[in-house]
Amino acid sequence: MILNEQSAGNVTIVEAVGRLDSANSPKVQDRVGALITGGATSLLLDLGHVEYVSSAGFRSLLLLARQAGQARCRFVLCGLTPKVKQLFDLGGFLDLLPIAATREEGIAAAQ
């Protein structure tokens, strides 16, 4: 799993590349969690290059969303591929997490 960080205004963008499974989700959780703890107010997690999300990945996303909520940080996901979006739907996560279609919409939603 590769994580690339960028920023657009006050929005910190983390682009994930690879598989969000039990092997990789702790890495995402640690890195994004550290950004929240470090005072980020707007976070966009771009999943456009993520091909697979397992239950462990969803658990990490839930935990990050909770952590962001407690820290008053806006946490938005974007760029879901149709296959990954289907997994979100299957696990009942589509309405639970703020999801934008594109990175541009995600930046706007996170601000």
Binding site: D21, Y52, S54
Partner: protein
């Protein structure tokens, strides 16, 4: 389910009344051309003109009721799609033979038997599904499309002593067909929806201006009564088992045509279509068989769902089943209005040919789409290629048919039936060894998910399975192995068995340890975040939802979870 961009009114949509009525008229006009078939059967039985006229009227009544049965979705009947029936070529050839040799009563009796046989097939379609795969259904639709186009060309240019084509007639045909094509390609809105009706009307006007409406059309229309109640005096029923085989083969071909039409309608109405819904197909075949039974009872020719109607519906973009009621009302009225009916089926040959050729192009492409909806391996390629070759050989190489035993010649005497029979036989033959199983042992410890996915990807490619189904199976395999390794403390390696039998991808994972739970209810978010059990239950919940069927067993310490994906 997404509506395709070229569809104006989807199956469940309600077009304005005007569109519904005029679309019905357009379809009824096209369907009426096939009323030539009952006339031919009456002639083959040496029946008087009055009987032929009554047979046309009763065929119209059966078509009207058959159309309602097909679109209504009432109890076990009706696909709900615009798969309206017409007097069918599949029943024409055996009916002509029987009419000549045994008379009309035997035609009607055998038609009832064929309809009952089709209804029986409908009830057995689910278990028979492996025998009727999409490539065979596509082949049938494609053959019908080509046959419809060739029929148009035959009507236009020869056969039946129609005489040489005058230049004016040729222009009439070119202008009529050209107008239909132009309106369909460049016309928007109503112009596209009603391109065939506008083309036929313009063709009639042009034919009038050019003075090339045949005298027999004028005579036929002039002689026909304005209002008449058909006389059923000629109707009777006899069964003769010596004709059972040709009618049974016709029943199978009719069933396949319904399957093809329903699949085409489903695909045309849904941009996300991946497979035929067997429930709709079963109801469609049952309604189609019932329509044929009814046709035999009232003294009409055997009916079958028309790819021409489906072709016109997909060309115009109006798939709404409400149009079916409009078609039925118009056909029913025509049964009592012979003069208007004659206007349709005594249409100048170039106009009729143009409408048939135009519709045939859409039927051909519909067939190709159904046929190629799955990856084609060597087996399927051979089935398609040889079945099509056999079908086209009937016209191109008639010696082939004459080399068959005499008793089989009338049974296999049409391109549709011969192509269907060859396709079905090869499909059955190639099923030998079609079920393939692959195994993988997953050792305890960290196993790269990519390796597990690669195993299933390679399996899917060697099977010729659909990529989307293999994609779903990959998720379940990787997720189940991940969850078992982390949460079920297996005592030894995991054994994976993946199999494919053309209709299902089945993934089984066996291990020694407690059974993986596959709950029907999703755990709460707090459970997922706070407890390992909640996390495992989420995995099990997703595994259950992603597969079409799941099962799990635990015997003597050995647990097995099995995921089945329909293909």
């Amino acid at each position: 389910m997404r509506k395709p961009s070229n569809v104006v009114y989807g199956v469940e949509e309600r077009p304005p009344l005007g569109v519904t009525v005029v679309s019905g008229l357009q379809h009824a006009g096209l369907m009426s051309m096939f009323l030539l078939y009952p006339v031919l059967i009456a002639r083959a039985a040496d029946a008087p003109v009055e009987v032929a006229a009554a047979m046309v009227s009763f065929t119209l009544i059966a078509m009207a009721i058959g159309t309602v049965l097909q679109v209504i979705r009432l109890g076990p009947f009706g696909s709900g799609y615009l798969c309206a029936p017409i007097p069918s070529i599949v029943y024409l050839v055996p009916s002509l033979v029987v009419a000549k040799q045994a008379g009309l009563e035997t035609v009607f009796g055998m038609t009832i038997a064929a309809g009952l046989f089709e209804m029986a097939l409908a009830r057995a379609l689910r278990p028979l599904r492996p025998i009727f795969p999409p490539e065979i259904i596509g082949v049938v639709v494609l053959i019908v499309g080509v046959a419809t186009g060739l029929l148009g060309l035959r009507i236009a240019f020869g056969g039946g002593g129609a005489g040489a084509v005058e230049p004016a007639e040729l222009w009439l045909g070119l202008v009529t067909l050209g107008l239909m094509v132009a309106l369909n390609v460049w016309g928007g809105g109503f112009l596209r929806i009603f391109c065939v009706l506008i083309g036929m009307t313009a063709g009639y006007l042009l034919a009038g201006v050019l003075g090339i409406i045949p005298q027999e059309s004028f005579d036929g229309i002039a002689k026909a009564q304005v209002l008449a109640i058909p006389d059923p005096g000629y109707v009777g029923w006899k069964l003769d088992l010596s004709y059972a085989l040709p009618f049974a083969v016709a029943g199978v071909a009719a069933t396949l045509k319904v399957m093809g039409n329903v699949a085409t309608c489903q695909k045309a109405d849904n941009a996300d279509w991946v497979r035929v819904s067997m429930g709709d197909v079963t109801r469609g075949v049952l309604a189609d068989g019932a329509g044929t039974v009814l046709a035999g009872v009232v003294g009409a020719q055997g009916l079958n769902s028309s790819p021409t109607v489906v072709g016109l519906a997909t060309a115009s973009g109006v798939l709404s089943r409400r149009v079916g009621y409009s078609i039925a009302a118009i056909l029913f009225a025509l049964a009592f209005l012979p003069k208007i009916g004659a206007l349709f089926y005594l249409m100048p040959r170039m106009i009729a040919a143009s409408a048939l050729i135009f519709s045939s192009t859409f039927i051909v492409v519909n067939g190709l789409q159904v046929m190629t909806s799955r990856l084609l391996d060597a087996r399927k390629t051979l089935v398609i290629g040889l079945a099509l070759l056999a079908a086209f050989a009937v016209d191109a190489q008639p010696e082939l048919l004459r080399s068959l035993p005499e008793t089989l010649q009338p049974v296999l005497g049409t391109s549709l039936v011969l192509g269907t029979v060859v396709g079905l036989a090869l499909n059955l033959l190639f099923r030998i060894g079609a079920r393939r199983t692959r195994e993988l042992t997953v050792p305890l410890g960290a196993v790269p998910s990519e390796r597990i996915e690669a195993f299933l990807q390679a399996s899917g490619e060697s099977w010729g399975a659909r990529a989307d189904v293999i994609g779903r199976a990959k998720f379940n395999l990787v997720q189940s192995i991940e969850t078992i390794l982390e949460g079920c403390d297996p005592e030894g390696p995991l054994e994976v068995e993946a199999s494919f039998d053309e209709y299902h991808v089945v993934i089984g994972v066996s291990y020694r340890g407690p059974l993986l739970e596959l709950p029907e209810a999703r755990p709460t978010n707090d459970e997922i975040m706070e407890t390992e059990e909640g996390h495992r239950r989420l995995a099990g919940f997703m595994l259950r939802r992603y597969a079409d069927r799941v099962s799990s067993t635990h015997k003597a310490g050995l647990s097995t979870v099995t995921f089945t994906f329909d293909h």
